[in-house]
């Protein structure tokens, strides 16, 4: 009997440890959630409550005034507001998709085909990760200008393709795929394309879903930088920035803007995370 209990305790974690872990998670979780709660509550605070000092975490007299004001301002924008939304969505979607595609395609041979020079190439990629975007800001501008890409979508989208972080991440993940799986596919007559699309990509699904979150989050916040001048090409981020430039009178609108801009990355995160299922990288292995 004693033995049986000991075995059982070995297999299942005890509830004490479980509840301790849960408490820890909850403690840190609430710690992290404070800014979110604050920002959301701010959006519903009437103007007078926004300036209470010290600031209150929770709203007392909730109001939708801020959002109503925001829509009022949007209606009066010079270019229809939907255009800003379209710009941001287009840049985000195209940039993210292109980046994931090119980065995975490039990561595959780096991880699994040891062609000549792959080490040098990978070192260059890691080195380039270390440069902050500011270092290349000026030369980048000049290249865009020389290509004639100023004031166009591609000036923002194409550089996102070549961002080295995604390649680095994908390569690290692909390296963990057992070679035997790829060999098996090759022996069964799959072309490299097919191996890439039907073996490698499904296996690293958690990796590219992660990348999707990171890129989407980065591009969603882009304001076009120094590349976009035409009003009709500017992003939602920029337009929202303009709206809250109005100073104290726009403080409430600013809080509403923060909530709206935050929603999309959070929703993407939740959607992609709930789509992640356990992949079985080595479950086909019999050795």
């Amino acid at each position: 009997m004693k033995l049986a209990i000991r075995v059982k305790r070995k297999v299942n974690r005890s509830w004490q440890v479980d509840s301790m872990l849960f408490l820890l998670l909850a403690a840190f979780g609430s710690f992290m959630a404070v800014p979110l709660i604050y920002v959301i509550n701010n959006a519903f605070k009437p103007l007078d409550e926004l300036f209470i000092f010290p600031p209150t975490l929770f709203v007392r007299n909730a109001t939708l005034e801020n959002f109503a004001d925001l829509f009022q301002v949007m209606k009066n924008s010079w270019v229809p507001f939907s255009r800003y939304i379209f710009n941001t969505v287009f840049i985000t979607a195209a940039g993210t998709a292109g980046h994931i595609l090119l980065a995975s395609a490039a990561a595959y041979p780096l991880a699994k085909h040891k062609f000549r020079g792959h080490k040098v190439l990978f070192t260059v990629i890691v080195l380039s990760l270390m440069f902050s975007p500011h270092v290349t800001a000026i030369p980048n501008y000049m290249i865009m200008s020389a290509l004639g890409w100023m004031d166009s979508y591609q000036a923002v989208i194409i550089p996102a393709f070549a961002y080295p972080l995604g390649l680095y991440l994908m390569k690290q993940f692909m390296e963990q795929i057992p070679d035997a799986l790829l060999e098996a596919a090759k022996i069964d007559g799959a072309s490299e394309y097919r191996i890439f699309w039907q073996v490698v990509m499904p296996l690293v699904k958690p990796a590219w879903l992660t990348l999707l979150i990171l890129m989407m989050q980065m591009l969603w916040g882009t304001d076009g930088g120094s590349f976009i001048y035409s009003e009709q090409l500017k992003t939602m981020h920029y337009a929202m920035g303009q709206i809250i430039q109005g100073g104290i009178a726009r403080a409430g609108v600013g809080a509403a803007v923060a909530v709206i801009m935050m929603t999309v990355p959070i929703v993407t995160f939740v959607l992609s995370q709930s789509n992640v299922i356990q992949t079985m990288a080595s479950s086909g292995m019999k050795d």
Binding site: L36, S132, P133, W220, V276
Partner: protein, 299 residues
Amino acid sequence: MRFKKLSLEQKNRYYGLYFILPWFAGFLFLFIVPLLSSFRYSLSNLQVTNDGFSLDFIGLSNYREALLSHESYVRILTESVVDIAVNTPLIIIFSLFFAVLLNQRFRGRVLARAIFFLPVILASGIISSIENGDLMQSVVRSANDTTGGGLSIMKNLELTVMLVESGLNITFVEYLTGAVSRIYEIVSQSGVQILIFLAGLQSISPSLYEAAKIEGSTGYEAFWKITFPMISPLILTNLVYTIIDSFISDETSRLVVDTAFKSFDFGLSAAMAWMYFAVIALVLWITTSIVSRKVFYQD
């Protein structure tokens, strides 16, 4: 016809190049070229003229200026390096621990994951759109700034004031609040790392755990004998990411940007950036060469 003579191995090499080419083309023109011209700037005196700019080669004097006569460069650089050395191991341990927790099955785990990813969302885009300097905006910023973090409302306003008023020594109070803010720094810098670890944990085959369970291993053993070795390549990945991430968003980078775009000393700024880069490269080289020896790859 020449193609037919290639061995399988050689063919593989060409396939590799073929897959990598589109990315590499973009990388070359949009990253390497700007990088090289930045290096050229660091060795020159850049003058803005009517029709663009002119470069006079002045050798290493920009580097000399940054190191020997700039009032704060060396100090800020040292502080950055010390910060990274202290924070990085904590971030890695913390994020691995939480990734393992968040990978368990429990109700509301997607929500829990989202909460731990929040700082990353709050840190970019939205905040920069709001930090444009009036009262409301500075209040919001103080609430979400990644370095100050959400508790900075409490930290900066209430805790400090309360402690000082209760008669404690100011340096002691500052040390205390500094420690609190460092905890938050670590938590809020772990968002991406947790996500990467989670993706890694999800690619570990459940059959390994199943086998371990049948053999009667404890959760503790399963962690050290299965999870840890299987995730070790990603520990390396996260180590590199953490070091780079903290280097990119810290004081030294800000100094580099200010030198370029506020004092308009582009040559000096480029020299600072390149020296900074050399330091990061050294730090990374040391840590990765130590860690990568321990990394386990399943082949």
